[in-house]
């Protein structure tokens, strides 16, 4: 058992536990905190996989911005959420959903193990491969080069998307 494997197993268990915590806790704040923990563990996964920039961005954006937003709303609506878990109109859904979730995992794993394996060699080799760029120029530069050379158009569209979201938030936030 190498250090990588050990790290992986620990992270796997921890992230699974915290993910389960998201869906199990009664208190919404606990769920949010659980989710933040999950994001952190995922960031550690990315680190292990060598995507440093993405790991940092994950922590910054997800854990830092999005979850803060969540916590704002959760605490704003906290007073009303106490009684929500009492009357469950469709109690059978709980069990059906759990069983189906297990089935989903099973089927996906089956597909993973019997599907054609992903190509054993790198798609891009030589000077264009990621590891080469990372090794020569650094991680962020590699990310930036890929973003602005291949994905410039999606990048611009994304900024448009953000503008639309801001407009939407402003509209929704107005008084009736």
């Amino acid at each position: 058992m190498t250090a990588t494997q050990l790290a992986f197993f620990v992270l796997a268990v921890a992230s699974t536990a915290s993910a389960l915590g998201v869906i199990i806790f009664k208190n919404a704040v606990h769920c949010a905190l659980s989710l933040i923990l999950t994001f952190l563990f995922l960031a550690l996964f990315y680190l292990q996989l060598g995507a440093l920039f993405i790991a940092i961005v994950q922590v910054l954006i997800y854990a830092g911005a999005i979850m803060v937003l969540f916590l704002f709303v959760v605490t704003m609506l906290a007073s009303e959420t106490d009684e929500t878990e009492l009357r469950d109109h469709i109690p059978w859904q709980r069990w059906v959903a759990s069983i189906l979730g297990v089935v989903l995992v099973g089927v996906l794993s089956y597909l993973l193990f019997t599907g054609t394996p992903v190509g054993g060699s790198a798609v891009t080799t030589g000077a264009n491969s990621l590891s080469h760029v990372v090794n020569t120029q650094g991680n962020t530069q590699a990310f930036g080069l890929a973003l602005f050379h291949g994905f410039a158009f999606p990048f611009e569209v994304t900024s448009l998307l953000i503008v639309v979201a801001i407009l939407g938030a402003m509209v929704l936030g107005r008084k009736a």
Binding site: L20, V22, L49, I61, L104, V118, A165
Partner: protein, 100 residues
């Protein structure tokens, strides 16, 4: 390095947990959080495959998913808040006037 399938199975597990969470929670905020969990599971599989294939394209996708998730959260929370303002409760089961 772990084999790719390990990361992919991890991603599948996290995704399923997110799906179950959507189905069994009645607080819309927690449902939202479960959706975020699902998106992150997909992000994990993207990054794993990109590392395996030694290409930056996977990480680009993660970047875009991240941004879209952010925008989505903004709008979604705005909707939930405005629903709360009119109805004064946020149980998803209470919104069943479209029943047949």
């Amino acid at each position: 390095m772990m084999p790719l399938s390990a990361y992919l199975i991890m991603s599948a597990i996290l995704f399923s947990i997110g799906v179950v969470g959507v189905l069994i929670r009645r607080n819309p905020l927690i449902i939202f959080m479960s959706i975020e969990l699902m998106l992150n599971a997909v992000n994990l599989s993207f990054v794993a495959v990109s590392s395996k294939l030694d290409s930056a394209d996977g990480q680009m996708f993660v970047f875009l998913v991240l941004t879209v998730a952010a925008a989505e959260v903004v709008v979604g929370l705005g909707i939930i808040v405005s629903i709360f303002r009119t109805r004064r409760n946020i149980d998803v089961d209470e919104m069943n006037t479209l029943r047949g």
